[in-house]
Amino acid sequence: MNCAGAAPLLGSRPGELDPTEEAILSAHLSTCEPCRARQADLEALSRVVEDGLLGEAARRDFSAFADGVMERIPASAWRGAPAPGALGWVRDLFRRHRVLATASALVPALAALALYLYIGRTSGTGPLEFNVEVTSEDLAPMVLDTSDGPIILVGEASDGT
């Protein structure tokens, strides 16, 4: 390899050349003083640029950028962090414990249903569970309430026969 062939390979980054190119370049540099000097200059320049970029990056303040990114992430997306407020707490509870939260919500509803059915069933056993309307042209009806049902009496005939 001559200097013209070695020139494109000078200043390459570590791992950029394949083993064959590295071997050829190394053989050329061992015999060519100008190319070794050129290689040393390029390596020095690379270190200077690298150090400069790192220093420039260190001087920059990225806190505003980081805050902007964090603001765009909704609070509810944070796994493990409850959403603010009572409603957020309920939402968080439902999200984490769906079955338990649903069962907890159903318990009072089922209790109310059971109470309604119980009242509906037992209300049919009282003695006054009927409604009576009686009309008579010339007698005086009387209604007796018993636990088995109503008794309607109309009395005695007015002629007494």
């Binding site: 049919g124 309307e133 018993t146 049902g149 008794i151």
Partner: protein, 147 residues
Amino acid sequence: MRSARTAAWGAVAALLLASTAAEAAEAPLPVRIRVLQGSRQGTPGVPPGLEDLRGQLSSTAYLRWEQAGEVQASMLPRKPVSVALPGGESVTVTLVESRSGAATFEVSAPASRTQSRVTVAPGKRIVQQVTAERGGSAWFVTIRAGG
């Protein structure tokens, strides 16, 4: 499109419910009607066939009871059933309305010129005097919904 389909299904469900409720309201109701004579005189007693009525009958001033007739019918709303009394008179019983928790009957007794409208729960009995008392006795009908 989705809301229209939901509304259509809702309308179908409402129609089915309404038709089921109407069908239940128009279903025949087995009713047992008995004709009794109550007397103030004679040996006090309730025959074995009237044991289920003892609680109600003993609440009256009549001491001796006898059954004179019985009608068992599957009554439909607004279809009157005529029940004959031994003296040639009759009583008309009409099922006005039947629901799951109650049945309403109208009893018309021309002999005493009395009309009643009674709503009772299933299993309860209506005991109604349908003639004025004459000579210490009177006629009664008992009505029990559910046979």
